[in-house]
Symmetry: C2
Subunit: 98 residues, 2 copies
């Protein structure tokens, strides 16, 4: 079920770094200290998204990796997007502290 | 040294799938039969770009990986962009025939 804008914003309040974009995407930029760390993060993101069978739009601009999530089939943001974003944040924190 | 538009187009004539975009990028979309093949290609692209120390702008939209190259410091397309694009094509062909 698609969340209302208020519901999305309540979830984003607990989700570091993610913002609502154009009312239908949630977006976060992840910045790395070198290029290959960003690529290793993309590999983690890919594995997570395969497990969800729900794939973010990814851009890699040197050391900045941007993820955009939406539920196309539902026409908005759903709990799957929020749960996946949480796992991306956990993967990022884990890489930062390694 | 930056190539003229005519020079870029002459090179692109020998470089399958690449097109000039906005006069200052060369671009190719690579489509894969599944998501993880596209991710494996991005890993190859990353290794090649580290060897050149020249990194393309990458987007991953499910099974479509798009690469954009330009020489920022030179303000246009140079022989480095063309050589790198050739290596990306070779990596793609190799993955396709494996």
């Amino acid at each position: 079920m698609v969340f209302s804008q208020e519901e999305v914003e309540a979830h984003l309040g607990r989700l570091e770094g993610w913002e609502l974009e154009e009312g239908r995407w949630i977006v976060r930029k992840f910045v790395f200290s070198n290029y290959m760390k960003g690529i290793a993060f993309v590999d983690e993101v890919a594995a997570i998204s395969e497990a969800f069978n729900h794939h973010p739009f990814i851009t890699i601009d040197y050391t900045t990796v941007t993820l955009r999530l939406t539920s196309w089939d539902e026409g908005g943001i759903t709990s799957v997007d929020i749960k996946e974003a949480e796992q991306y944040n956990e993967a990022f924190e884990k890489m930062r502290t390694e």
